[in-house]
Chain length 359, copies 2
DNA sequence: CTCCATGATGAGAGCGCTCTCATACATGAT
DNA sequence: ATCATGTATGAGAGCGCTCTCATCATGGAG
């Protein structure tokens, strides 16, 4: 039923060593022999026993993907599925497996001990690491390659991939400025999370580039939830902004609700730009102009970085920042001003299924 | 840096065998010796090398979770995250790891060969298996335990866990009947998918129990998407139903849109009950009465079944059907009729955060 | 006191693979 | 012809663990 190297060797009339060479594509095997061995392997459906191989190579061909439980809600946005797909596809192509860990704090110690110390995984990819992730430090000390998806500046030795949150925030804000809005406020994310910090920094940079000094009450902090966006927008109303860059679509949806309740029209009375391009952003009223991140790519690149460290035995950390993309819909008011030449080239029209923006 | 059994044995002044006994909780070790060995293990942070152990035990302590790529969209509803959590938690408790596979057809063969034949996993859990899933058959032939989440009647030997879709459909429909609606139509799911078939069967059973013969044009088939629900509802309008059981919340949202366009009020002109209790069901206008499935539990039970097969070496397939729960909100009209005694006991009020239904 | 069941321990084989080293043979330079 | 070089192959050790079997001590029954 289940063959071993030994048996394949016997069937092919060669030694175990030779079969091993064939399997591992070692050059020094006569083509004729190589053929014969492959044929037999295919015939009997032989597959090397993973554990036996791992034992001697000291590699499991398994990469751990750690998702801190802190963010269970966010799971319902397309972020995690997409990034997981990117990771999975890239791993699959390279012959690796994906071990998923949805860790809550009490499970962390156990996971660390079993999976990391027991060498179940060859390395780990950590999603949206909190500023102080004990697992990252431990893996790092353990000598296991780690890549964080999402900026992780704490541990100097850790590689990460991130979307350009600063650039995205800046792009969104400049888009509003270019459309003629001048009192551009923002609903920022929590300033304890890297995306929250970075997108706000982008907002500030845009205003500064345009010589505008934001009043402090133009900045309201939300918590990346719809409810948080709703509250933040209500606080913002007294500052009478004419446009708002909202650091997440979920918050933008809350903001839209608050505006509707306040009797303000979007974008006539107030323009809105969101962030993330969640599925629902195209169905809000009005559809949300937003910033799209290369989520799938984030996953793929994380795998590239990790396997590079792993296979080339590189230890220096690497950082990759991927560009974001503006998706123009109705909430920013741009669609009402079609034809203004100064927009050309700045606005992307690749907004999935929507009729293209007619420049 | 990384210790082996041998070294622990030396440090403890015993043989390798004894240390192995201690680790595997074999009774025949003197308490005093056991203590000493554990202390040293803890001191040096020893963890057995997984591959070495797997090689001799022929067990990897890894369970594969296979999600066919056919359903990438559905990923954005809370189903997958919740079921994955259930699986993960249950596996973690039993000392197993979760290997995730987001398989698209071209990857299937490779996965089968590497993961199943290479004995990387001890068994697999398949999510929403299509009616003809080659992986299930193969794993089964391979002698690997398989559990399907979602009914999978094709392979007689395969265990599965499922929510009670028939019961849920029936409960939803009877709820509408009990509220006094008589022309109760349905938007069914695709009749190629088990949930689609089962929920429709529940609908039929409810009508039959009430002695009502549904007209054929009371039944419209959708594809579980919002657009499909919209189209189905438009088709249904000519039949002039007064209530509709919609086999998924997503479709129900499309249906609501169609009704709004047709100028019909919900629930005054038409009552709606959905299915799934997705996050958004509480935010629709009006909030959706719907059927909630024990998704997290589905995952946990799947693990139970799988590990039972695995560890007790049971081969007979097992089937588990978990009950569903009705979540009453505004769309069915029940909230407008508070006080009718005949509802009591039939309606659950555990609808997360919503004010309880006051019976 | 002897006998044998029972408990505690160690020795050693072996899981299925990779990889180093030794060997045999072919090839080309001298 | 001689030797260095390179290629193809096999023998065998060893990865770190588990588990069977042998050994020895212990202690109650006869």
């Amino acid at each position: 039923m289940n063959y071993t190297l030994e048996e394949i060797a016997r069937l092919a009339g060669v030694s175990r060593s030779t079969v091993s060479r064939v399997i591992n594509h070692h050059p020094n095997v006569r083509p004729e022999v190589r053929e014969r061995v492959w044929r037999i392997i295919r015939e009997v459906g032989y597959q090397p026993h993973a554990a036996a191989r791992n034992l001697v190579t000291r590699r499991s061909q398994i990469v751990g993907v750690v998702i801190p439980e802190t963010i269970p809600k966010v799971f319902s946005d397309p972020y995690f599925p997409a990034v997981l797909r990117g990771i999975f596809d890239a791993l699959m192509e390279r012959g690796y497996h994906l071990m998923l860990s949805l860790l809550s704090p009490p499970q962390e110690e156990d996971f660390y001990q079993r999976a990391l110390r027991g060498r179940v995984v060859d390395g780990i990819i950590v999603l949206s690491a909190q500023v102080t992730d004990p697992l990252i430090r431990r893996a790092y000390e353990e000598g296991l390659p780690v890549v964080s998806i999402g900026r992780y500046p704490q541990e100097p030795g850790v590689s990460y991939v991130d979307a350009d949150n600063v650039g995205g925030g800046r792009m969104a804000t400049e888009h509003l400025l270019r459309l003629g809005w001048r009192r551009v406020a923002t609903i920022a994310g929590p300033q304890t999370m890297a995306p929250g910090i970075d997108r706000l920094e982008g907002y500030r940079a845009a205003l500064q580039a345009w010589g505008i000094r934001p009043s402090p009450d133009w900045i309201a902090e939300g918590d990346f939830t719809e409810a948080g966006g709703y509250m933040a927008m209500r606080r913002l109303l007294s500052a009478r902004p004419d446009a708002v860059f909202v650091a997440s679509d979920l918050m933008a949806m809350g903001a839209l609700k608050a505006l509707r309740e306040a009797g303000l029209r979007v974008p006539e009375d107030m323009a809105i730009v969101g962030y993330d391009d969640v599925e629902l952003a195209q169905f809000t009223d009005p559809p949300l102009t937003t910033v799209r991140q290369p989520i799938y790519e984030l996953g793929r690149v994380a795998v590239q970085l990790l396997l590079h460290q792993l296979e080339e035995d590189v230890r220096e950390p690497q950082r990759v920042i991927l560009p974001t993309e503006l998706v123009i819909r109705a909430s920013c008011g741009a669609l009402r001003q079609i034809g203004m030449p100064e927009w050309r080239g700045d606005l992307a029209s690749r907004n999935s299924g929507e009729p293209g923006f007619p420049y």
